[in-house]
């Protein structure tokens, strides 16, 4: 058809079009935000692992991630591990989950004990203040500090010990567990551990193969697993997935149902509101296929407009959410957008079925009625 009937129909009532597009856009945005929230959690969960400054982590056998269990290895295997891996540098960290309480606010955090001055395990982005230099000093995540009203210079209690806040870190916020940093010594004391660390961290020689180093460490040092930071991050993501994927998937499913409902509603209303027009076209001699194609084009156009509105809206809302609630990281990357696009296509197909059926029921004889 050279007369752009679908386009004309859509633009004829701009208010209705705006509402329909907004409705579809909101449903798409909801799905993108949920997917982006999930992706953002993965980013924050793996943030520390990816910024450790080490090529290998040596931890307790069977513990395969920072979040999925407490690893405990003897401090004195340090030398053996470094030798087996032919490491150029080595360090250690203690890492555990605990609750940070300030007044009425309780926040689960990941406590990292690292060696001040070492390149391993330290916060990679210190915003305000400075890094720790003593055993009674602590670094808090910027959002955590903001949430609890703590600033640099304040003193806080943690695990029965007193610490002074000397700096605030960035890129360490997380809805699940923001990071806080103290010295390894202070962590050992607070956790009642003696000569035990969570991980040995090794830096390999430039020509050393990680796979070979892992094999060497695991065979020569008993009771340990050696992993690359990537493997640790992947393990944490998997652990996270088993926890969060189920409720998230259910919510995404509900979001998709909402999207279908909105698309159906708008397409259905479009048909019933223009019953007469469709009756006239039928009377004039348009075939069922021509009319169905018209409906498909209109529904698809609305869906496409709604999709782009949804993508734009999602980025906007994500930005707003992260500005108001900095503990959330929402990451919407193009694979997520493609995922949402395919879902929107499926929703559109389902949504178009009812209106096309409705079309069949329009009796062209109604053109003779006033």
């Amino acid at each position: 058809m050279t007369v752009p009937l679908a386009q004309r129909n859509l633009l004829h009532e701009k208010g209705k079009l705006a509402l329909s597009v907004a409705g579809i856009g909101a449903a798409i945005a909801l799905i993108l935000l949920l997917l982006g929230f999930r992706a953002g959690l993965y980013v924050t969960v793996s943030a520390f692992a990816n910024n450790l400054g080490a090529d290998l982590l040596v931890g307790q056998s069977g513990v395969r991630g920072l979040f999925s269990g407490n690893s405990a290895v003897p401090l004195d295997i340090h030398g053996d591990a470094a030798t087996a891996a032919r490491a150029t540098e080595a360090g250690h960290i203690l890492i555990t989950g605990t609750i940070f309480t300030a007044g009425d606010t309780k926040t689960p955090v990941l406590l990292v004990g690292y060696e001040p001055g070492s390149a391993f395990g330290r916060p990679w982005n210190v915003g305000g203040g400075r890094a720790i230099a003593a055993d009674d000093e602590i670094l808090l995540d910027t959002w955590l500090a903001q949430r609890t009203g703590i600033t640099v210079g304040d003193e806080i209690d943690l695990l029965g010990q007193r610490f002074r806040v000397v700096g605030l870190t960035r890129e360490t916020a997380s809805w699940m567990s923001p990071y806080i940093f103290i010295s390894l010594e202070a962590a050992s004391r607070a956790l009642g551990l003696d000569n035990v660390v969570s991980y040995h961290l090794l830096q390999l020689a430039a020509d050393q193969d990680a796979g070979r180093a892992i094999a060497a460490v695991e065979s020569e040092v008993g009771g340990v697993d050696a992993m690359t930071p990537g493997e640790v991050a992947a393990a944490d993501e998997r652990a996270l997935a088993t926890t969060l994927d189920t409720p998230l998937r259910v919510m995404i499913f509900i979001g998709a149902i909402i999207g279908i409902a909105v698309m159906s509603l708008t397409a259905y209303i479009a048909i019933t509101d223009r019953r007469r027009d469709y009756g006239v076209l039928k009377a004039i001699g348009a075939s069922q296929a021509q009319l169905a194609w018209l409906v498909v084009r209109e529904t698809a156009s609305r869906a496409v407009l709604g999709f782009f509105a949804g993508v734009g809206g999602a980025y906007l809302v994500a930005g707003l959410i992260m500005a108001v609630w900095p503990q959330f990281t929402i990451v919407i990357r193009w694979p997520t957008v493609v995922q949402a696009a395919l879902l929107a296509l499926l929703m559109n197909l389902v949504a178009g079925w009812l209106p096309i059926r409705r079309l069949r029921g329009i009796d062209p004889v109604l053109v003779f009625k006033e």
């Binding site: 050279t2 001699g285 062209p364």
Partner: protein, 245 residues
């Protein structure tokens, strides 16, 4: 009788709604033949079954009994798709309520019918403009129905009806919503410009007495009976019938 001269041929057509003791007979063995270039008027009080008759003639409603031939094609042997195609090329409708598509301009309302028939692009556009100019709407091509007067809307509807050059025009109260002056103009268009002169058959359903002037035949429906009411010539081939609503 040369059937090729008859554009529309209804043979003992009946329409019954419902069944058993609630059955309503809207048309009872009606026969009607309309020749090319003939203008037939069907008049009668409200509720006498004119809509049913028009719907069947327009291939929008299948009869319960009888045969309908349009341009020699037996409608009873055709499926919905084929009927639609026949309507597209053989019938032009003019409605009391105009029934223009509100989202389209005057030109587009005519052009879309050509598109449906497979005529696209510049050819369709040119034909649409030609028709509208012929009907004195050359200055209103890009206006939407909401911006047109009643008379202008009806002229667009007439242009649309003529788009695919059909041999038959079916008009339902074409002057019903117009003032007397505009109604007169439309009447003249139907009679002379578009109908007889171009060999087109026109069937008009109306209450408007003034349209008698242009009719070759006037048929009257009342209490189920169809009779001739006197026109300007032509033979009555309508048989006795009861046309109820």
């Amino acid at each position: 009788m040369n059937t090729n001269d008859h554009v529309l041929d209804l043979r003992h057509v009946s329409k019954v709604y419902g069944s058993g003791h609630t059955a309503v007979t809207a048309a009872d063995h009606v026969s009607l033949r309309v020749r090319r270039g003939e203008i037939v008027l069907i008049m009668g009080p409200s509720g006498s079954g004119k809509t049913t008759l028009l719907s069947m003639a327009g291939l929008l409603l299948r009869p319960t009994e009888g045969q309908i031939l349009l341009n020699g094609h037996d409608a009873g042997r055709l499926n919905q798709r084929q009927l639609a195609g026949l309507r597209l090329h053989s019938i032009g409708f003019v409605f009391q309520a105009y029934n223009l598509l509100g989202a389209l301009t005057a030109r587009e309302n005519v052009e879309v019918v050509l598109n449906i028939a497979g005529v696209k692009g510049k050819i369709a556009r040119r034909r649409a403009i030609e028709l509208l100019e012929m009907l004195g709407l050359g200055h209103r091509l890009e206006h939407k129905p909401a911006d047109l007067s009643g008379g202008e809307k009806q002229r667009v509807a007439i242009a649309r009806a003529l788009a695919n050059n059909p041999p038959l025009i079916l008009a339902d109260e074409p002057t019903g919503n117009l003032d007397s002056k505009t109604g007169q103009e439309v009447m003249e268009l139907l009679c002379c410009g578009l109908g007889r002169d171009q060999g087109r058959a026109i069937v008009i359903v109306t209450h408007n007495d003034r349209l008698r002037q242009i009719a070759d035949r006037v048929l009257w429906l009342e209490d189920g009976r169809l009779s001739e009411s006197g026109g300007q010539g032509g033979q009555s081939v309508v048989q006795a019938a009861s046309l109820h609503n």
